[in-house]
């Protein structure tokens, strides 16, 4: 029952996209669109097949995804404890909020020039851009999350005998979790864009690079293929990991994220 409804929901979701592809398949030959302007469906299919067979697509995807994964995991591991520590005291969190806000506003793409200067073109610069896109947004949201936990909840825990450690693990961390998840979702959104931009500028492998190089040769079929891969990957990350995570915490607990 559950399974069939999920499958039908997926079908309903995919149907409009299928219609769009069909439309594209008809429009390109009928109007004689030149391949330098926009590719035909079979051309993109062939490009996809070729790049899968010669392993280049996998290499680009693996490079992009691993950069995002490393940067994000590192950032979350550092940002969450830091954000919670900063949020424990009202005074400290009020003082630091404008600072964190300023840096989270700056997060991501704006760091590309200086990152490439400090780390040179390549892996280090790109991971740095992703790290700080996620780091400041997550730290800021964690700080915000901790400071929105009602004081009475902390009082309740204290009067039930919670010590410092239990306060962190049983009250502050779960209390800030909805904000943390929202922060990760937003930060990853910035990081993903930052990744594509940084790969266009500063590397020789990855999805952004694949697109940008294809442009030099007017290979629109590779560009469109890359765009579809980027869109699909992000949709999968967002819908299969981030949205369910957000739902599980916010809706079940009845918390509204700030």
């Amino acid at each position: 029952m559950e399974r069939t409804s999920r499958i039908s929901a997926a079908l309903i979701f995919i149907a409009p996209l299928a219609v769009l592809v069909a439309l594209w398949a008809v429009v390109v030959p009928v109007f004689g669109v030149r391949p330098q302007i926009f590719p035909s469906v079979p051309a993109v299919g062939r490009a996809g097949l070729d790049s899968i067979l010669d392993g280049s697509l996998l290499r680009h995807v693996a490079a992009s995804v691993s950069r995002v994964a490393i940067g994000t995991v590192l950032a979350v591991l550092v940002a969450v404890p830091l954000g919670i520590l900063m949020g424990v005291s009202r005074g400290v969190s009020a003082f630091l909020t404008p600072l964190m806000r300023f840096f989270s506003v700056l997060a991501g793409i704006a760091w590309i020039p200086i990152a490439t200067l400090w780390f040179g073109y390549g892996f280090g610069a790109i991971v740095f851009v992703i790290f700080n896109a996620v780091f400041f947004v997550v730290a800021y949201n964690t700080l915000l999350g901790v400071s929105t936990i009602p004081m009475t909840l902390r009082h309740a825990a204290a009067s039930l005998g919670a010590g410092r450690q239990a306060m962190l693990t049983d009250v502050l961390l779960p209390g800030a979790l909805p904000n943390i998840v929202t922060g990760i979702r937003t930060g990853l959104g910035f990081a993903w864009r930052g990744l594509i931009a940084a790969e266009m500028i500063a590397t020789d492998v990855g999805l952004g690079y694949m697109l940008f190089v294809a442009r030099d040769f007017y290979q629109t079929e590779v560009i469109v293929l890359g765009m579809i891969v980027i869109g699909t990957l992000w949709l999968l990350i967002d819908r299969l990991i981030l949205v369910p995570l957000e739902r599980a915490t916010i809706e079940r607990w009845g918390l509204v994220s700030a």
Binding site: P150, T152, L153, H155, A156, A157, A158, S159, L160, G161, A162, G163, A166, D170, V171, P174, G175, L177, T249, R252, W253, G254, L255
Partner: protein, 252 residues
């Protein structure tokens, strides 16, 4: 169960914006013997919640003494259970885990603390709700959990801060009946803050009327137990006492 005694308790704080010291509690002395139920009533702003917050250890007092079983209070601790007006249940924990939180903090193993929690939930007729999240319960149910959570930690003194102020009138009477029954079964030491005079009289052995940071009067409530609204609603003694306290509060 232990006694609670407040000796010349005072609270002044510095209002940085106005640049002056403000006195919230002038001089309050109060003895609550072990196993007694005391209600504190008074108009809003009389300092009743401030007293409770100081006894709970959430805010420091600036003069006098707070003793629980003869030991001075330093900060919050499990010897004083607190029931909050806003319930203060952990939204991310099930009802069972909320009630088992106190025992968990004492290091009681999972199976054992679940058993304790279930026993206390049964006391308030909440067994069916054990696996729900607070958000999925009505206000009345949530506050039942709040009371049970404080009790399950077996505190020496139970502090209740207008616990039934944010539930509807019907539910409030049911909760008062239940609290009265539970108190008669377990006889904890209770300090109950409220601005609802009939509620104060219905529940307590003694009602303390507070005014402008000082104790205005103490009224003994000798009404026999068990007390239930079905009986007391038409009881003359109850009406007289309520009117007496009400007059004091009005004069405050």
């Amino acid at each position: 169960m232990k006694s609670l005694s407040l000796k010349n308790l005072a609270k002044t704080y510095f209002d940085a914006y106005k640049g002056e010291h403000v006195t919230a509690i002038r001089d309050v002395s109060l003895e609550v013997p072990a196993g007694e139920f005391v209600s504190i009533v008074g108009p809003s702003g009389c300092g009743k919640s401030t007293i409770l917050n100081m006894v709970a250890g959430f805010i420091p007092h600036s003069g006098g003494e707070i003793l629980v079983g003869g030991t001075p209070v330093k900060g919050p601790g499990p010897d004083r259970g607190v029931v909050f007006q806003s319930f203060a249940l952990f939204p991310w924990k099930t009802v069972l885990d909320n009630v088992g939180f106190g025992p968990k903090m004492r290091g009681v193993p999972k199976a054992e603390r679940d058993a304790i929690a279930r026993e206390y939930l049964a006391l308030a007729g909440l067994s069916h709700a054990a696996d729900r999240y607070p958000n999925e319960l009505s206000g009345g149910m949530q506050q039942r959990v709040g009371v049970v959570r404080a009790l399950a930690n077996e505190p020496d003194v139970l502090l209740m801060d207008e616990p039934f102020a944010s539930v509807d009138a019907q539910t409030r009477m049911t909760l008062q009946d239940e609290l009265s029954r539970i108190w008669e079964e377990r006889r904890p030491t209770v300090v109950f803050i409220t601005h609802d005079v009939p509620e104060a009289v219905f529940l307590a052995n003694r009602v303390v009327v507070l005014s402008k940071g000082k104790v205005l009067a103490e009224v003994e409530v000798p009404i026999s137990r068990p007390r239930v609204w079905d009986r007391l609603v038409a009881d003359d003694e109850f009406k007289d006492l309520s009117n007496q306290v009400l007059a004091l509060v009005r004069s405050a």
